[in-house]
């Protein structure tokens, strides 16, 4: 197997409802193609695994070909294939992993299975260059809410500092949005409504002062529901914008407070924020404010690279290939609960 100095890495991501394909060469993003089945899930209020898996099968090869077309490249130009091997929806992961193996086998190039969360961190290197070692990463999406200590993306395993003990932050957004009669996914409509509201309702900050780096959003979601039900029961109008703003404030408050605390605890001066919830305006603003106050450099990729995508997988694959990391075997399993 050839490994050129600046290998072209094809990255494939299918852990949830986005079929993502990226092409990266030497830290440079050459193409990023995405097919999403989110509209098919909207009426169910969440991602339906079988619908997601079917959509991945349909979109997989066309999305790879779209990425290659956009970069003006041919499959034979690919020097290595990287793929999210977990964690995520089992049936969805399996489609991407099988496709990645087929490309690697057909092209005679190495296969690299990568961790979804590590890829979310790695994507930032495409925009902001190499990460200082170590860095802390806050990853928040519909499936994850994690604080990670990242020593070296290519070589050493990422260490989990904490994670949600129940709902992911994005999941809480979806549930609160449904309660307020807003569409799925709930992040964008709540963010929009919150801009018109005042965050004066004192919703709880679970685990805020517990000394851990874990999160809990299930109780917050229930507290919002109780508050709204009380108004409805009393026949009072529900101040939707204020509820959205207050809920959003509670989420952003506890996420950023713990992220800054994690940086301090580990003497780290760089925080990377990623995942779909990193597109949230209040989370971004509060993170910027608190990082500046604490003397921490904040790095957030552009929103298109925060949500699931193939570029992040190609980015991490590229780091691993260039560092000479041993490739994965062709019997690489797709692991829905892959550990860090």
């Amino acid at each position: 197997m050839r490994t050129p100095a600046r290998p072209l890495v094809l990255g494939i991501e299918t852990s949830c409802d986005e079929t993502g394909v990226g092409l990266v060469r030497g830290g440079e993003l050459l193409a990023d193609a995405l097919a999403s089945s989110v509209d098919e899930h909207a009426r169910y209020g969440g991602v339906v695994p079988e619908i997601a898996a079917r959509a991945h099968l349909e979109a997989m090869v066309p999305t790879i070909e779209l990425a290659l077309d956009r970069a003006g490249l041919h499959p034979r130009d690919v020097d290595a294939v990287a793929v999210t091997s977990g964690p995520g929806l089992a049936g969805a992961l399996l489609v991407g992993v099988a496709a990645a193996k087929a490309y690697a086998l057909a092209l005679g190039v190495p296969l690299h299975g990568v961790h979804h969360l590590a890829a979310h961190v790695a994507v930032d290197t495409l925009e902001h260059g190499p990460l200082p070692r170590p860095a802390v990463a806050l990853l928040v999406s519909g499936g994850h809410s994690s604080l990670l200590l990242v020593p070296d993306l290519a070589a050493e395993p990422v260490e989990s500092l904490g994670a949600t003990v129940d709902d992911a932050a994005g999941e809480a957004y979806d549930k609160v949005a449904r309660l307020l009669g807003m569409p799925f996914p709930g992040g964008p409509p709540i963010d929009a409504a919150a801009r018109e509201g005042s965050p004066h309702i004192p919703f709880p900050r679970a685990k805020a002062g517990d000394g851990t780096f874990d999160f809990s959003f299930s109780g917050l979601k229930t507290a919002v529901a109780r508050w709204v039900e009380a108004r409805r029961r009393a026949g009072e109008p529900v101040p939707v914008a204020d509820v959205a703003a207050s809920f959003q404030e509670a989420v952003a408050d506890v996420l950023t407070a713990k992220a800054v605390a994690a940086c301090r605890a580990h003497g780290v001066d760089t925080l990377v924020v990623g995942g779909g919830v990193a597109a949230n305006s209040r989370l971004r603003a509060l993170a910027a404010l608190r990082c500046e106050a604490a003397g921490i450099t904040l790095r957030i990729p552009r929103p298109g690279l925060c949500t699931d995508n193939g570029a992040m997988v190609a980015a991490l694959g590229s780091l691993r290939v260039e560092a000479g990391v041993e490739p994965s075997p062709l019997d690489l399993p797709a692991s829905s609960t892959l550990a860090l």
Binding site: L57, V61, G91, A98, A102, A106, G108, G142, A225, R233
Partner: protein
């Protein structure tokens, strides 16, 4: 002309490298592998393809077409084969042809025969064959219903790995003639003919016309589209035959969390959270 054929629509994960020759010679199996393990197609398939190619001394770019069993079959394993075949073909810039997986069993039968495979959830996938040609489209149904439909159509014999799972429903039917690869059931790897050994055993009359296969045989699938491949005909879209809609129910309105009568608030809250998390993981996963 070398064709890589595969099927993952049953518990058998099966790969064959087939050489399509001029008409009198017919297709020749250069190498084949089958492993029975219903839950590991995703891990087994790619290494098996590598091994089949290596056994025949063939490099991937020498493969000129891919043939894929397009189901019906359990969705997860079916998709492994479909996406693997499509991606392997796309990487090489060669066409990928989809063939009804049941034809990989039925095409090797004579007379009126029902081909039955496991559809899980106490149902079977099935199709009716007359002298190796499928009559109508494949279906999915309860074993007893399928058996009644086959009887009504004058079928007295069934074959395929699904029939033995429901001995009561298919009790009145004849089974395939003995001596075929029916002994393949169970777990373990069966290496077919390869370039080094016994290719003669399976290539005497094209390697394809022996006893009825107990699983959708990739070499049979390849034979069924051999004329299209040789003529360079467009394969059309590679579409899986799911035969079932995804399980998904549209949610009702949000459940009230405020209790209408007194209750221990803390434990009730925790229980609600747990229940909703369980429901979410079974049905949907929020983005």
């Amino acid at each position: 002309m070398l064709v890589l054929a595969l099927d993952t629509s049953t518990a058998a994960c099966a790969v064959a490298l087939v050489e399509l020759g001029a008409p009198p010679a017919g297709p020749l199996v250069r190498a084949s592998r089958v492993v029975w393990d219903a839950r590991r197609h995703g891990e087994l398939l790619a290494p098996m393809m590598r091994d089949v190619l290596a056994a025949a001394g063939v490099r991937p770019p020498e493969v000129r077409a891919v043939v894929v069993g397009a189901g019906p079959g359990p969705f997860t394993s079916l998709r492994v084969g479909m996406v693997t075949g499509a991606a392997f073909a796309a990487a090489l810039g060669v066409p990928a042809y989809g063939v009804c997986s049941l034809d990989g069993i039925g095409a090797a039968t004579t007379g009126p025969v029902g081909v039955i495979t496991d559809a899980r959830r106490r149902e079977v996938f099935w199709a009716r064959y007359q002298d190796g040609t499928r009559v109508g489209e494949p279906g999915v149904g309860a074993p007893a219903t399928v058996a009644a439909d086959l009887r009504a159509a004058g079928v007295e014999r069934v074959t395929g790995p699904g029939a033995g799972l429901y001995p009561d429903a298919f009790a009145g039917f004849g089974t395939p003639p003995a001596g075929g690869p029916g002994e393949l059931t169970g777990s373990g790897e069966q290496s077919g003919s390869d370039a080094q050994g016994g290719s003669g055993a399976q290539s005497g009359s094209g390697g394809l016309s022996g006893a009825e296969p107990e699983y959708p045989a990739p070499e049979v699938l390849a034979r069924l589209v051999a004329a299209d491949i040789v003529a360079g005909r467009d394969p059309g879209p590679l579409t899986p035959r799911y035969l079932r809609r995804p399980d998904a129910a549209e949610p009702r309105g949000p459940k009230a969390v405020t209790a209408s009568r007194p209750e221990p608030v803390r434990s009730a809250t925790a229980a609600t959270g747990t229940a909703s998390a369980g429901a979410a993981s079974a049905g949907t996963m929020p983005v």
